[in-house]
């Protein structure tokens, strides 16, 4: 009896053995099964360990600036469309902006009155500034010099973001730390204070930024991130980028003495950075100045065709080009014939002028001048800089500033300060390069107005016009619509309703209440 039971148990044990072993072996690894890293995102523990991490984070910050400017073509909606000189045949949202109806509820307006994308830049820079020292500790390849230059760029980009935002919204919350995980809502900070801070940041950054990268600059030794200078030229913030933006910042505040000083740094040192003035042909070629990354992009964000960076949107071309330049019946916006003639009112202008018979000398700035819609085709980088109209795929860079801009800004500053001779010299530096006669007060009228007119012609479609109008009317009230806005701080944009809803410390701009 007993043995039977025993043998039954033994056979029973045998039968149990297989499933039992399997269970033990496989469940043992269950904790390992659960501790797996994501393959699609990088967790905190795998970031800030190496040189590649700082590079990726810094490039990411640049990418975010580009995204902020390109989103819904914001850079041009702010800078060119709002000036109201263009006309839109079809797009109601553009019309609303042109008529200063900025609270109209179109998706594009809701997007560009929201400053979130700029704060992404700021947060990204803040995190970089807080975390990059860890890499300095962990990765010996990350040299002190590399670190210093990286920090300078992050600080500059952050300050630039604040400057850009102040021009649009006025007071903005000043957030200079990442507050990671302990976010708190912040009220808007006085714009003067924000700009003063940004100016200091940019100056500090400028001190550490090189003139060029991987080019033997004493402030950036060796090959930056092991890449040659051709990889970096025109893409990163440099010393002159900082001074150019500083000049803009000072001018925006009406601080023309500083604007003159900062811009002088650029006009004195551009050769050191291998910058130069560009020809009209280069400016307007499909594969010219705006195509690719160029050293002469004093501060710009390229969509490099060769890097598969081109896109359908985020380029001026999306707004301005149409038949016959690209396959599109009606442009989103165009400049009427009358406007063109009144702006380009001097003979010999290589950008646009009419011959004695009243036909355009060139199609550099405008194509199809005599058609129903003259096409503003100054920037037309289609695909790899070709003239193929079939595919509306663009690769032009967003150029925030270039040497011509800084030169004219300097002219403006000097004119405002009463240094006429210097101002004329700067103005003529551009005029003569565009085929115009040197400035002559009898022919061209008031100097300051001429400088702004020259800016309008030279920088058309580069996101400057609206700010130029504001600065000009502050010094010399002449456009009634702009003057009326300025009187009530209406040059600002409304703060998006979505922002006000999520942060109760924020207030709407007085004019837009």
């Amino acid at each position: 009896m007993n043995t039977t039971i025993n043998s039954r148990i033994i056979s029973f044990q045998r039968r149990l053995l297989i499933p039992f072993m399997a269970v033990v072996l496989l469940t043992g690894g269950c904790q390992k099964m659960l501790d797996i890293d994501s393959k699609r995102v990088v967790g905190e523990k795998n970031m800030w360990n190496s040189l590649e991490d700082t590079r990726a984070a810094l490039m990411g910050t640049y990418g975010l600036v580009r995204a902020a400017m390109a989103d819904h073509n914001a850079h041009w909606l702010y800078g060119d469309v709002r000036a109201g000189e263009f006309t839109s045949p079809t797009r109601q949202d553009l019309r609303a902006i042109m008529t200063q109806d900025l609270k109209a509820s179109y998706p594009s307006l809701e997007a560009i009155t929201n400053w979130r994308r700029w704060y992404a830049v700021i947060n990204s820079a803040n995190i970089f500034l807080e975390r990059a020292p860890e890499v300095r500790q962990k990765d010996l390849r990350y040299s002190e010099n590399n670190y210093v230059v990286d920090v300078a760029q992050a600080r500059f980009l952050r300050a630039f973001a604040y400057f850009y935002m102040v021009r649009i919204w006025g007071d903005v919350p000043l957030v200079i730390s990442s507050y990671d995980g302990n976010f708190e809502n912040k009220p808007r900070e006085n714009q003067a204070k924000v700009l003063a801070w940004a100016e200091q940041e940019m100056l500090a950054a400028a001190a550490n930024l090189p003139y060029r990268y991987s080019a033997g600059d004493e402030q950036q030794q060796g090959d930056y991130y092991n890449e040659f200078t051709s990889r970096w030229d025109g893409t990163l913030a440099r010393k002159l980028s900082a001074y150019a933006v500083l000049a803009h910042l000072a001018a925006w505040q009406g601080n023309y003495p500083d604007a003159a000083t900062y811009s002088k740094f650029v006009t004195d040192n551009y050769a050191r950075a291998t910058n130069d003035y560009i020809s009209t042909g280069h400016l307007t070629d499909a594969n010219g100045f705006f195509y690719d990354k160029r050293t002469n992009h004093l501060f710009g964000f390229a969509f490099v065709w060769g890097h598969v960076d081109g896109s359908f949107t985020g380029h001026l071309e999306e707004l301005t080009l149409a038949e016959p330049v690209v396959n599109k019946r009606i442009p989103d916006m165009y400049l009427t014939k009358d406007s063109i003639i009144s702006i380009f009112n001097e003979a010999g202008d290589e950008r646009f002028s009419l011959d004695t018979l009243g036909t355009p000398v060139s199609e550099r700035y405008f194509t199809n001048y005599n058609g129903r819609y003259p096409i503003f085709s100054k920037i037309k980088c289609i695909m790899g800089g070709v003239a193929d109209p079939t595919f509306r795929f663009f690769s032009s860079a967003i150029v925030f500033t270039r040497l011509e801009d800084v030169t004219l800004l300097r002219a403006e500053a000097l004119a405002a300060l009463g240094e006429r001779q210097g101002a004329i010299e700067m103005l003529d530096a551009i005029r003569t390069r565009r085929g115009l006669d040197p400035y002559n007060e009898d022919v061209n009228g008031d100097l300051l107005a001429s400088i702004f007119r020259e800016r309008q012609r030279e920088l058309m479609g580069e996101g400057h016009r609206w700010y130029d109008l504001v600065r000009f009317n502050r010094i010399r009230p002449s456009h009634p619509a702009v003057v009326a806005l300025l009187a009530n701080e209406g040059q600002t944009w409304p703060v998006a309703q979505a922002l006000l809803a999520q942060n109760t410390l924020l207030t709407q701009n007085e004019y837009w209440k």
Binding site: D35, E44, M59, Y62, R95, W115, N123, R329
Partner: protein, 987 residues
């Protein structure tokens, strides 16, 4: 006794290998649900559906017969279509009649606001085929899509893999007593499907139908009609035919001599057609007592009625059971399906796939001659969508009488490939090629042990403990390219010579216009459970299930979740009413418990992360900056912090099952309430830190409802030859937001307002009260005229109700009204039989739901949609179809900056209730007629009609063609009226 100690030792050892099991085994094990996960039959015979302790088994389907053989008559493609009107508590959103498209299912309401496909994916019930929990698509692919109408890839309904002819039973499991055993995957309920099992006798059957889907009749319009429609606005609001000097009237409407637009509008001849429906299935089963098998093959073809859509399916299923020794059972199943789909050719979907919108100035012309020229361009293109779906398992059951040990390996694998080419002629000289390949794979290793301790005639105990290891992997690779060198090379060729400097670079398409994507994610799940059931004298049953689940997508600090479920049953009839003859059955049951809810994205398990997202509107995928990969916080995705706990669902179910008059009347009544707690919600916040939103935990949604199933043998067959069985299933559901993260009272997300205490599927609209005819009509308050979002209202603008009376119309004046998901869903079925004849009529209805007619809003808002290169401005060929009633809308000034024809107003909100005659089927059983001359077991022929009519107050098209936002976008292809003839033969 020794055996039990062995068992204890066994469990203890299991516990040692993983401490979490201690939690599970600490309690007595269970749910009385005897599901297919643990159907351990000792003999090789069809798996017993009604296990010994199946008090709770398919109670819900007792009166509503989910009879697979009947369902198989429906010319359906997907499981969703089969079950749509069949089970109380289930709501199926079939928003397109295109065969094989995705259809969402919701069991017992929606556990979270459904704002995107992502949400919809996460609200789907679990489908279990022979104990294999099926894996679906992962929504991660939407991350790279600017336009999210369809997921990239084949977008084929993965539940097209159920061939109803192979199915023995379909159970819709809703109460936690029956779902808890499936763990966190089952948080949204379960549909358990069991395949037919072989027996010891040889059986052969053949089932087939052939039929057609009827071409719908539509009213077409042409340019003349559209021009007249628009002229009304120009006549009213413009002096010279232009609202402003910059206006441009669309060219295609300007020239009344242009026959392509002003000529006959007969495009529908090329667009709509009759569709062929066809299915043939055969199977054979055989073997003996120790080993048997069943093998089935099938082919199905289902053509849509519009745009040459269609689907083909090839399926095979193989079951085998073997019993080499008395105490060991081996069984295996493999189910393979290949689904090929012809997709619609709508412009919107094509442009969305290409992420490129060409000039939209000239829409497709309504003239058939011109339209068919366009259609012919597709001859040189291809759009191949093939999906292979395979699932299988192999199981060993060690059977020692009362003790059973089961070890099982199961795999569900599906892969989809979409190869696409559009020639240059189709789009402004730009060709496009795209290739997608993706797979979803689930591997399960599950072991459990059960012990049946029947003490005596009265006391009955059943114990079970088990562990499940589950590995999920999702992957896709996707590439597309524009502008190939010619229309003959249709694929994105790469340089194949490794010694060539151009190795792996594209050769036929410019490399600057080639985009490549890859994504891969894993999710692992480890579960331990134990359950125990005690039954006393067939009167009282109590069951407790304890489980502990660990997920790799949960944060390391809260990997594991312990959840209990308790169920009790009380057989009142046996206990108290033994003599009451009125009741033949009276059961009471109640269950309460908790189940975890999984994070779908592994991002959440990591805390703060870095990703490569530096895109922007219209270009969400930006590869980097200056040719370098980037890493930034996922600002567009949102902030994820630490300390995210498991989300879980708490459910309470009380049910009553009655049989009256000798089971002549069968009633099941269920009341439930469930709270889905601790859910993550993206709260728009921290914009000053760059984030679009912050994922915060703490959203809680309540769903409460009642489900009723009644079935009556009104006339029993008895002596007469006539029988009539009407049955009704009805479910009422109400959802409510009970808490938001951080104690918020309300939140606006994606232009929808969510307020605690309100339903989560409300429309948030302005109330429309007509029109301001003159500027003077606009009310003036505090010296200023009424404004809309800061814009002064004028003549021709809508008279929106100023709800809060502050003299301005803004978001504060929008009201929460209506509901997207129906309050009542049900089916009413009548089965008549007379002799060998049978007639089935099935009505399907939704009551208490609303529809926002977005298509109509778009038509009236033509000013904002004309001449703009934007996805919402795309005009399909169906633009030339008259849908709805234009006359019920006022003529506003469409140029106004207040956008008078904006969708978010009750002007476009309509009652979307409906009743459909979904099935009418007449059958005749030939078995008797053929008699003993043949070896036939049964032969049945039938003819059916489906979707025969719809009654609805809705003025648009079919009220079923609505998306999860409650919008009728006009994009759903019509659900066809179908007629089929079929035969079912068993030898």
């Amino acid at each position: 006794m020794r055996k039990t100690s062995m068992l204890t030792g066994f469990i203890l050892l299991m516990c040692l290998s993983c401490p979490a099991l201690l939690l599970a085994s600490a309690g007595v094990a269970t749910s009385l649900q005897q599901d297919s996960l643990d159907t351990d039959t000792s003999a090789v015979k069809p798996i017993a559906l009604h296990g010994r302790d199946s008090v709770f088994t398919d109670l819900n389907s007792r009166s509503i017969k989910l009879v697979p053989d009947d369902m198989a008559r429906f010319p359906a493609v997907s499981l969703q279509q089969y079950v749509k009107d069949q089970a109380p508590g289930l709501f199926v959103q079939e928003n397109s009649g295109e065969p094989g498209t995705l259809q969402a299912m919701y069991l017992r309401g929606i556990p979270m606001p459904i704002l995107s496909h992502r949400d919809s994916y996460q609200a789907q019930p679990l489908i279990v085929l022979d104990g294999i929990p099926l894996i679906g698509e992962h929504p991660f692919a939407f991350d790279i899509q600017q336009y999210q109408f369809d997921r990239i890839g084949t977008a084929t309904n993965l539940l097209s893999n159920i061939n109803m002819n192979n199915i023995e039973s379909v159970q819709v499991l809703k109460d936690i007593a029956s779902t808890a055993i499936y763990g966190p995957l089952a948080a949204n309920g379960v549909i358990a499907i069991t395949t037919k099992q072989p027996g010891s006798a040889r059986k052969i059957s053949f089932n087939s139908y052939v039929g057609m889907a009827q071409r719908p009749t539509v009213t077409t319009i042409n340019g003349d009609y559209e021009n007249a429609f628009r002229r009304q606005f120009y006549d009213r609001y413009t002096a010279i035919g232009r609202y402003s000097p910059d206006d441009s009237y669309p060219l295609y409407l300007s020239d009344s001599l242009n026959a392509s637009y002003y000529g006959p509008s007969n495009w529908s001849d090329s667009y709509y057609q009759h569709g062929l429906l066809y299915s043939a299935d055969a199977d054979i089963a055989g073997g003996g007592d120790r080993a048997n098998f069943r093998f089935a093959v099938g082919h199905l073809r289902n053509q849509g009625v519009a745009d040459e859509t269609g689907l083909k399916r090839y399926s095979a299923l193989f079951n085998i059971n073997m019993k080499p020794v008395k105490w060991l059972l081996f069984s295996a199943m493999i189910n393979g399906n290949r689904v090929q789909r012809n997709r619609n050719r709508s412009l919107r979907d094509r442009f969305a796939t290409m992420s490129y919108i060409p000039d939209l100035a000239s829409p497709l012309a309504p003239n058939n001659a011109i339209y068919s020229q366009y259609i012919n361009q597709f001859d040189n293109s291809f759009d191949d969508n093939a999906t292979n779906i395979v699932e299988g398992h192999a199981k060993l059951v060690f059977d020692f009488d009362r003790l059973k040990i089961t070890s099982r390996l199961a795999v569900d694998y599906n892969e989809g490939a979409r190869d696409l080419f559009y020639p240059r002629t189709l789009m402004e000289e730009n060709s496009f090629a795209s290739n997608y390949y993706g797979y979803n794979q689930r591997l399960i290793y599950d072991n459990h042990v059960s012990y049946d301790a029947r003490l005596d005639d009265k006391h009955d105990i059943f114990l079970q403990a088990g562990s499940i290891l589950q590995w999920d992997a999702f992957k896709y690779s996707h590439a597309y390219a524009y502008k190939g060198i010619n229309d003959f090379i249709k694929i994105n060729l790469l340089e194949s010579d490794p010694n060539n400097g151009n190795y792996l670079n594209p050769t036929a398409f410019p490399k600057e216009l080639v985009y490549k994507f890859l994504d891969y994610t894993n999710q692992n799940l480890v579960s331990f459970y134990g359950r125990g059931t005690y039954r006393f004298d067939d009167r009282y049953t109590v069951s407790l299930l304890l489980r502990s689940d660990g997920s790799s997508n949960a944060q390391p600090t809260s990997r594991w979740l312990f959840t209990p479920t308790l169920s009790v049953g009380w057989n009142i009839k046996n206990d108290l009413l033994d003599d009451a003859s009125a009741f033949s059955t009276l059961d009471f049951r109640a269950s309460a418990g908790r189940l975890g809810r999984l994070n779908v994205f592994d991002n959440f398990s990591q805390g703060p992360t870095y990703s490569t997202m530096v895109g922007y509107y219209g270009n969400v995928v930006t590869p980097g900056y200056n040719g370098f990969g980037v890493l930034t916080r996922p600002y567009d995705f949102g902030w994820t912090g630490y300390g995210i706990p498991w989300a879980y669902t708490d459910q309470l179910n009380i049910g009553l099952d009655m049989g009256l008059a000798d089971e002549r009347i069968r009633i099941n009544l269920d009341w439930y309430t469930k709270y889905d707690r601790n859910q993550l919600l993206g709260i728009p916040s921290y914009a000053e830190f760059g984030y679009r939103q912050s994922y915060e935990t703490g959203m809680e949604v309540n769903n409460t409802g009642v489900e009723l199933a009644v079935s009556i043998d009104a006339v029993r067959k008895g002596n007469g030859r006539f029988a009539w069985t009407p049955s009704l299933n009805l479910s009422y559901n109400a959802n409510k937001l009970t808490a938001l993260p951080g104690g918020l009272d309300e939140i606006i997300i994606n232009d929808r307002l969510f307020r605690v205490g309100e339903r989560i599927d409300r429309f948030w609209v302005w109330q429309n009260e007509g029109i301001y005819l003159t500027d003077a009509d606009v009310p003036v308050q505090n010296g200023s005229a009424r404004q809309f979002n800061g814009i002064r209202l004028r003549a021709g603008d809508p008279r929106w109700v100023d709800v809060n009376g502050d003299g301005a119309i803004n978001n504060d004046d929008r009201v929460l009204t209506g509901n997207i998901f129906p309050k009542i869903v049900g089916g009413f079925m009548n089965q008549f039989t007379y002799g060998n004849w049978s007639l089935d009529a099935q009505l399907y209805f939704n009551i208490g739901r609303d529809i926002l007619n977005a298509e109509m809003a778009n038509r009236f808002d033509f000013i904002n949609r004309e001449g703009i290169t934007e996805i919402n401005s795309v005009k399909e060929i169906t633009f030339w179809e008259k849908r709805g009633d234009y006359s019920q809308y006022p003529l506003y000034n469409p140029w106004s900056n207040v956008i008078p024809y904006r969708k978010e107003q009750d002007l476009f909100l309509e009652n979307g209730s409906f009743v459909k005659l979904r099935t009418l089927s007449l059958g005749y059983d030939l078995t008797e007629l053929l008699g003993k001359r043949t070896k036939l077991d049964r032969m049945f022929v039938y003819g059916t009609g489906h979707n025969l009519f719809t009654l609805t107050p809705y003025t648009g098209r079919d009220p079923e063609l609505i998306d999860f936002l409650g919008y009728d976008t006009g994009y759903g292809l019509p659900i066809p009226r179908t007629y089929t003839l079929g035969v079912r033969v068993n030898f």
